[in-house]
Amino acid sequence: MTAPLKAVGWVAGLALSVAAVFGLPHVLELFTLINATIYVSMAILTLSLALIWGYGGILCFGQAAFFGLGGYTYAICAINFGDSTWAIVLAMVLPALVAALVGYFIFWGRIGDVYLGVITLTMTLIFLKFFNATAGDAYKIGRAALGGFNGIPSTPPLNLPWDVGTQLAPEDIWYIAASLLVILYAGSRWLLTTAFGRVVVSIRENEKRSELLGYDVRRYKLGIFTIGGAIAGMAGILFANCVFVSPTMFSLFYNAQVIIWVTVGGLGTLLGPIAGSIALQMIVAKLGTLQGLDPNVVLGAILIVFVLLVPKGLQPVLQDWWDRLREPRQPAMPAPAPASTLRSAGIERPLTSATTAHQPAANAASRP
């Protein structure tokens, strides 16, 4: 795309998002607006996974753990402080710290592939089991009772910074959530153009090469993973403001959903997963109102169909169509780094060799 056209695209995108952020509260009823805020908070969670999986090459099965931690931290701190200002800060810092800790463990241990998936999944299950078991008076942090399976129903809403008297209305929370999504999207795009972002992408493309050039790949992976944790924490804060925090935030269902949205939207893209998450949430909500149809059936079918027929996801496919429409005579170039190969990079140990079973000696020797 030429530079001016790109600029036009950016301006149009910005105008459209501003219109959506400020227009929707005038069009939608309050109930629908709150739902829209939930969708946006989930879209932010999706963005965090799109970043670390699509660009960092880290398939985290437990992204919802950071989401849940963000929510709980916010709720507990807001109840205890009576003011949401520091609660917000802590609810971003704590998930980021946990992500850094887990990431240190994973990346310095050179754990990759499926194993990384298992460890992150296990982590989220530990939180799920723990918070499920926190019923009763024994589990109180300050004034906040964790409430076990029921969670913390009375999660206080955001207030203006250092002004406890002015609690924000649902409309205000919508403005915050929607602008945050726009800002985080733009921020992620910017991040990927920085030196850090470009090295992260290079590691996704060929980790060994980056090492042979002298890059400490562990630090870059840790960096992007930690950023992902902080973003997921923000999603948790917003979710806590629209619904309330409960152990289901850590559940397999939330973890699965995020992965589905990124897959459908297109791995290695940002806009696709965001749009995909919002669209799919709307579809599932719509279907939920139909008699006799379980939304899981639809969600499952969508995932299977996409993996089989549209493995690249929506955004890359639409982009291909668009490019072909604009330049119909040129033979289509092979798409750059399609998601399916990204996904297969590294992790795939196709059945063509018995390497896993019989080269551990060599592998072990090469591990420093």
């Binding site: 992408v201 002298g214 092979p334 060599a362 090469s366």
Partner: protein, 248 residues
Amino acid sequence: MTPIADPIIETRGLVMRFGGVEVLRGIDFGIAAGELRCLVGPNGAGKSTFFKCLTGQLKPSAGEIRFKNASIGGLPSMDIARRGIGIKTQVPSLYDGLSAREHVWLAVKRRVATVGGLRKEVPSLVDQVMEDMQITPLANRLVGQLAHGQRQIVELAMVTAAEPDLILLDEPAAGMTHEEVERLAELVLRLRGTRSLIVVEHDMQFIRMIARTVTVLHQGQVLMEDDAETVLRDQRVRDVYLGKREVA
């Protein structure tokens, strides 16, 4: 072999075992700073394994590797790269989804970070390398879509852009056209003197073009080490390459 007075890299009794198989069986090797050395030997002689030990991709089972008077055997690849060893691997190791320019940028950026230097200079340094290697026309092409010979050049550009003191080239001429091979030889000769190079190659013509001293590896040991003409005329070397059994 004759000991080298001031070697940039040196191995003593380097052994690499995989399970029960000894791929490197005590290699004593060294080159002087600024030297260009060719490493030849039939398939399975242990050339690529030797390179992997030098770059930290494999941890040697025994023996020592010294680079610029420090022991580096078993250090992680990343550390060794930062100390100044660059490698072009046998199968080109590239970022298929990135452009040629981004490859060079990654190398320059790393060098600037290690050596210290102005970040502002990075773009112009990148342009310089692209120009020197005559790959400016490929700058924005995705490397995954380039022809094999072009990919080799891009990898070479990336490795040299990092300005390592020692450059290891594993079969750099493989899959190149005749002109590309000549360009490559020219480049290698230009690097000699400022950089130290070890080149693994099968293409004897290419070896004649570039090398003075050649080391022959066979079954994980140094078979002989001499000037190029002597080595290429040697009966033992021919036997080894043609697969004749050595006369004990």
